[in-house]
Symmetry: D2
Subunit: 434 residues, 4 copies
Amino acid sequence: MNRHEAAASLVSEVLATRRKTIRLTEPLSAEDAVVQSMPDASPAKWHLGHTTWLFDRVLQTIGVPQTSKHYEYIFNSYYNALGKFHPRPRRGMLTRPSLDEVLAYRRAIDARLADLEGSPRLAEIAPALELGMHHEQQHQELILTDIKTLFAANPLLPAYATHPAVGEVNRGGRSVGPQPLAFRAFDGGLFEIGHGNQSFCYDNEAPRHKVYIAPFSIATRLVTAGEYLAFIHDGGYERPLLWLSDGWAWVNANAKRGPLYWAMPERGSREPPRVFTLRGERDLDEDSPVCHVTYYEADAYARWAGARLPTEAEWEVAATAANTEASGNFADEEHFHPIPAQRSSPSSSGALPELAQMMGDAWEWTQSAYLPYPGFRTVEGAFAEYNGKFMVGQMVLRGGSCATPRGHVRITYRNYFPPNAEWQFSGIRLAKDP
Amino acid sequence: MNRHEAAASLVSEVLATRRKTIRLTEPLSAEDAVVQSMPDASPAKWHLGHTTWLFDRVLQTIGVPQTSKHYEYIFNSYYNALGKFHPRPRRGMLTRPSLDEVLAYRRAIDARLADLEGSPRLAEIAPALELGMHHEQQHQELILTDIKTLFAANPLLPAYATHPAVGEVNRGGRSVGPQPLAFRAFDGGLFEIGHGNQSFCYDNEAPRHKVYIAPFSIATRLVTAGEYLAFIHDGGYERPLLWLSDGWAWVNANAKRGPLYWAMPERGSREPPRVFTLRGERDLDEDSPVCHVTYYEADAYARWAGARLPTEAEWEVAATAANTEASGNFADEEHFHPIPAQRSSPSSSGALPELAQMMGDAWEWTQSAYLPYPGFRTVEGAFAEYNGKFMVGQMVLRGGSCATPRGHVRITYRNYFPPNAEWQFSGIRLAKDP
Amino acid sequence: MNRHEAAASLVSEVLATRRKTIRLTEPLSAEDAVVQSMPDASPAKWHLGHTTWLFDRVLQTIGVPQTSKHYEYIFNSYYNALGKFHPRPRRGMLTRPSLDEVLAYRRAIDARLADLEGSPRLAEIAPALELGMHHEQQHQELILTDIKTLFAANPLLPAYATHPAVGEVNRGGRSVGPQPLAFRAFDGGLFEIGHGNQSFCYDNEAPRHKVYIAPFSIATRLVTAGEYLAFIHDGGYERPLLWLSDGWAWVNANAKRGPLYWAMPERGSREPPRVFTLRGERDLDEDSPVCHVTYYEADAYARWAGARLPTEAEWEVAATAANTEASGNFADEEHFHPIPAQRSSPSSSGALPELAQMMGDAWEWTQSAYLPYPGFRTVEGAFAEYNGKFMVGQMVLRGGSCATPRGHVRITYRNYFPPNAEWQFSGIRLAKDP
Amino acid sequence: MNRHEAAASLVSEVLATRRKTIRLTEPLSAEDAVVQSMPDASPAKWHLGHTTWLFDRVLQTIGVPQTSKHYEYIFNSYYNALGKFHPRPRRGMLTRPSLDEVLAYRRAIDARLADLEGSPRLAEIAPALELGMHHEQQHQELILTDIKTLFAANPLLPAYATHPAVGEVNRGGRSVGPQPLAFRAFDGGLFEIGHGNQSFCYDNEAPRHKVYIAPFSIATRLVTAGEYLAFIHDGGYERPLLWLSDGWAWVNANAKRGPLYWAMPERGSREPPRVFTLRGERDLDEDSPVCHVTYYEADAYARWAGARLPTEAEWEVAATAANTEASGNFADEEHFHPIPAQRSSPSSSGALPELAQMMGDAWEWTQSAYLPYPGFRTVEGAFAEYNGKFMVGQMVLRGGSCATPRGHVRITYRNYFPPNAEWQFSGIRLAKDP
């Protein structure tokens, strides 16, 4: 593919990505799309406008006129370099522009993007368009997580999705019980992690660099809801010595007794919790990975289990060995919830245990704080604020989730959230010293 | 009119009132109707549902089946006696039921109300229906005040109303400048105030009872925006001695420099403030009554002006003398903002000055705390919580506003809000010791 | 007594009052005297300095030089007209000046006050000195209430007073059980209340003015702790319909199950609560008046008891009839806690029931908001901010408490606190419509 | 020294350390020692009691009876495993036990410690005694930092220390101007960091482990106050692109314009700020290291300076090369404030630049989050909660400060505070990629 073809193909990819965003918002009414459930979450309409605004800004750099001064203010998220912006906790006030107007804005920008196909200036903005596409995918995930907090706040507990998941149709009979928990050992040594910039990546994944890692073991699958329930039944939320100090304060300040979206039964009862999902409320599925846990909960569970969380370098080394980038339970399967790890086929004796669920299902909390790699540089220009300015107070998560668009994440992909974030599909993979 | 006719006429009145509610929400999109701008305000859709739920409850007392268990929970406002209810600050989470579903709920209940016309059980619930109608009118006013806070929070500053006001069409040429400020003196003595229950009133207006009032004078019109601006220019918001202690703390905690919805120019500038109204943002109209002031601001202004606020007994005695219940700038005129007091026609010498704007335009803060009248009894039954439980920490306002439906308020009508409430159309009428 | 003698006698009185302040702080260490337990309370050392500062300011008006610019800033409470002042919630940061330095400041000002006895300028400041003396008495009460909150916050639960009360020594044998609850009826009519200014009073007690009062009855004694316990056992803190709306919110926000300083037993248990007093923790004395209740609790109790609280006018009319100003359980008796009403001696048939405990024991919440009397004027000059600026959001309490210095309160005396204030010795007297 | 002698020597060391604590509190009155200036700081009296309680607990393990059940509750800081404890933000309520009683408690425990010298059970608790001694030193530093926040909150701005510093006496003439800023380059490679447990260290310093470090340079001294002032004058606190996102929010939420304890002149003025120190307020000394900066400020300054902060591994490698553990401006010199780096003597050509101020003066923020080293294990037993449970949300600081007791810190020592902590003596050393 020559450079001209590559650029044309990029425009197609961008437009295809943008159509997926629309598909994800189809189950939402205009009312669903306007309300903000909490300061951390944004209305779906705002996501639709913000992702469009980013392309609008990119187009402006090659002389395409601005669509609306108001949209500039409304749909800028946090780029101080690009001017003043509407405060994040007030995004839910924006009943105007209407959803229809925002969709028209999308169509207008999409038309201009389509016009780029033959444009001599396309190459100039191709890197920014590529960033815009990956940025749009991030917001696809946020549309799902944010609508989940909104629907969970509604006493009617509406379901976002009601049709069968793609996976359910394709998968056929399911095995009974989850894959038994095992650990796969890795030798220590000097490794390279991070992205080499041979293809698209975010600035925070680079540069590729050496790290020394001591020998470690890592679990072959995510912690299940059933295992997590055992932790709860063993007094998990009542024993301070299992928790980080901040975590214990968080448990008490919020009177936590289980993960977000678990409706715990009366204290003392052993009835199973009911769980709210994007497919409505249902009984706890013990074989599915637990998700929506905070770093505090992940860490406490690991301590209770006599293990720990992996570092991001350990995770990346293990994922590289597992080599499972392509497969996984992503948003495209439309489960919109983690599913049990399949029992692996009986492996020949002596084979290393496979690492399941490394990609998709649930983001995996690592024991690494989100900090710059050695030699880190922010991108130049308008989007310099993309990643670097968040490098304090957050922990790294790896691997993507059931709400991540397939093709968005990579083995080197670094997601990050504060330790008390719980509205993302965040789960637990255990690690151990050898 | 015999009792049968009266009851049938009540049903017509109720249905007419409910049609007016729908008319008020017509300028709103489904998106406008779902968002809650602050804990004190409710979404228009919630108002539509809540007023309907009240009639639903009334109908249930004569055996009409409940419409929806969910609506019971969602649309109860604060009646502990009627069961658990959705927390007020979370009313904006209710993207479901949709606006269409709530409008269908309204139509279903309206149909059952219409069926009552010939019903033998109509008389039984007539008092509750009448209460429901007045209750609905209160929420008509709240729909207007609440949508105003929402639109003011939108950087696009949308206008709620764009068609000419009824009053503008009818009124013809307007006099230049407001009526000059004058005071009308009243003798002291023993008076009766409160409602005698000869027709509908709220429980808090009764019983009619004796009060002794010392001689006083009361202003012939409301304080204008221009007069209030002079207070600001004279350092009104910078001089602690003009303020109640709580008021001064409120000024500082909120960095107040003018009333709600006034966009004050840079400190030092004497440019006129821009003012947000339900008809969009516009230059300050100096002749219109100031509104959206808190009790703190009303009290500080009065102190600055060498006057005070009237007590509710003084106000009621003056309003009774003024005898102007019917006329006034109410919501039905569709100004949706206070308008200047008309210069009264040259009165024959010796006539007492007329009291303008007693009804409509802006609620008038009184110096009276909202407390029970001697011998006060709450209504019996389900709606016992209607008024009495709010009798602490609030001040009485009198006279209705430009957002009040005509026919809703009475001379004896007691409205009440906390001293820091500013989103109602609340204004200032001065009083003096003789 | 001629004017010269009167003035000289005033100086003696002032100095005697100031000696009593010292006596009250004698049980306190320097450490006890410096700490601020909550923003509403002040350290005892600050009270010692502030009351002195007020006399310092008075002396300055006749040319006595200021003692310290720093003290001016530190010990001004809230007089904006007198300059900037140290923020109230930071009074507990003042470890310097030391208690010894503040006591030296007191002695220095006392010496200057003593010097006034023969001064030709004494008469000029006599009214301000009198105000200063009454002001000092108010702070004597606050020293007691504020140290009580501090000691209650200490896990050692120290006792402020350990010597026998004056009353205990004098009183001899006590009757068994409290006086039975009875109500005394009053005819309605036109009354005069308020202070006529024939002797010292605060500005808020004047002017004397007419009020019309409907017939009413008032309880012959305060509600006892035992009666209040019955309210609790009857679900008092669990039944929303008993409470004002703000009160119910307060109960829930603070998880209240009983009054301040009552250590309630486990839910379900009927063990008597332990009660923290200025004499240490002890078992609940069921016959003593309940105290440290908020307006919310007083109002809820009254509703539960089928009664209501009196208005301040009713209270004043009743107290005038009772004519018991002089006697009562005041701070001078050094009980520092309310004591049971004595059974009155068998009265001759037909005699009206006596009204016990009108003065002393516990401040009595009235159903009246703290508002200006008709014709109210603040005092002129430096102390204009004394009372008037607090006339919003508070309720009137009458009659003084076991922490009030004898001679400080009058029948016309208006104390005032917000409805959620609980650290004062505030109790309940019931009233009824006839 | 045989094992017996070593243990006896340990007792002497412990007692000597404890005497130093007393010396540090000598300038404080009982009042100074009881007040808590903010939740993060503790009263000096509490520090005196808490450090004693730790030895009390240690003694109990060999059968010495508990001194007081109350002290157990009051002086436990945060050890959930050791029972309930008094809430941290309420430590300032403890006016009882008095300072005298706490000093008596110290003497009683000291006597029991002295009795250990010949005890056969000494060896058994020697490790715990050693931990207690180092723990006591940490609290010596906190006594200084905490009293500084208290005195800064006092409008009198009292000085903690007034006698000449030991250093001032010894040091003789001071060079003019600080040492010019230079960077020393280090090659990358595989290093070992962490403590090898060959002598006392905290659990979080171990195990010694390999890390790979890329080539880097590190500044030869700390950033001075004058350099930091240039950052401020260049709009440092007004340019969002210089800040981490959380940092910028912190700047705005707190209206920050300079570091803690700097009294900034009016906006626009270039007058030098006044600075509050433990020796009272004084003009800014431009040559001294800036201190009391948050991680946010350190990071923003570094970005402005075109540099970055070092990682803790880089710092440790550099400090090991610098080999300056023993010397430095520690608390023992009694400056109680950072002092300018001395101009190094003219080094022979080709010599590497010396690294000044690595130990003492100011803790140095690193770019490393406080996380467990590979293979980290908490100590067993009662003090397992000492360090590990704080391993989230904090950044590592290295090198000790002018408030740290000499001998307390090591090159491997890891201090940690949240990124918004400013009351410690925390400063800035720059680093760069090569």
